[in-house]
């Protein structure tokens, strides 16, 4: 089943206020084999000039997943999660953010594209991250929906 483009572009994500807890960032550092103590040890972070543990570059993707039912937008658009792959990801930064910062995430679907004669659909989701109204980062996710049966 192909994605309803109008429905996708009109999909409303609730704004999400999130905080990265220190323990969460230390766990992420452990799970990614990060040996730099700046990302897991508060003293090391402060010695490097950070007010708290820095949020590592790709962790904004994980912040978005703190949304209740984080993949709900895909199922709401009728997409079978078993057909979904992560195609592309990008981040742009304005300021570094840290553990305990209150961050506001606002997301929207910006594009739906059909590739390979309908065998693939590409959904682009853009998320802005702000702290006290000031820009922190933007994240762009391209989700690939496979239609292995071929052309629609």
């Amino acid at each position: 089943m192909s994605v309803d483009v109008c429905k996708a572009l009109a999909y409303r994500f609730e704004p999400l206020m999130v905080t990265a807890e220190r323990g969460m960032l230390a766990f992420f550092a452990q799970a990614t084999g990060q040996p730099d103590p700046v990302y897991s040890n508060l003293d090391a972070a402060r010695a490097a000039g950070h007010p708290d543990l820095p949020i590592p570059p790709s962790f904004y993707f994980s912040l978005e997943l703190q949304r209740p039912d984080p993949l709900g937008w895909l199922t709401a658009l009728g997409i079978d999660l078993r057909r979904v792959l992560h195609g592309e990801q990008s981040f742009t930064y304005h300021q570094i953010a840290h553990a305990r910062d209150s961050l506001m995430l606002r997301s929207r679907v910006t594009e739906v594209a059909v590739k390979n004669g309908g065998a693939l659909e590409l959904l682009t989701k853009q998320t802005s991250v702000t702290r006290d109204g000031q820009p922190i980062a933007e994240a762009v996710t391209v989700i690939v929906v496979r239609h292995p049966e071929g052309r629609m």
């Binding site: 990614t32 590592p56 997943l65 078993r82 992560h86």
Partner: protein
């Protein structure tokens, strides 16, 4: 900010090779990253989606690339980066992250990034902009 090593077009970052990705690594990353998609941790779910086995999420490789970058320059110098997930990273794979400076213009270094497996498979390609000023 701290002094940087000499950086110019052609500078290569010291490659980062990761130990083989175990099923335990995948389970830990699912918990730590918040991505609980079962195709990365549950063999039954992976097979029902047409995969022979579980495989690493692209964001795990992107996190390794992030380590490559932040071990090279302090994170606040990273302005932007982008990756394309080109191939699946199977469980037990041993990825290597590489980066190379393509150009330096007005204090901004443009890099190309890659994650490869020992058999030559390129799993991620990407680029980054790093502020050297």
């Amino acid at each position: 900010m701290n002094a940087l090593p000499p950086i110019e077009a052609g500078t290569e970052l010291r490659p980062l090779t990761i130990d083989p990705i175990s099923r335990a690594n995948l389970a830990l990353f699912a918990g730590a990253s918040g991505d609980h998609n079962p195709i990365h941790i549950d063999l039954d779910a992976a097979q029902s989606a047409g995969f022979g086995d579980v495989f690493a999420p692209g964001m795990l490789s992107m996190a390794y690339l992030g380590r490559l970058l932040t071990s090279w320059v302090p994170q606040e110098r990273l302005r932007s980066w982008r990756v394309r997930f080109a191939a699946v990273t199977p469980v037990h794979a041993r990825p290597t992250c590489t980066g190379r400076v393509l150009s330096v213009t007005d204090g901004l270094a443009a890099l190309e990034l890659e994650v490869t497996l020992p058999d030559g498979t390129v799993t991620l390609t990407g680029d980054a902009v790093v502020d050297l000023t």
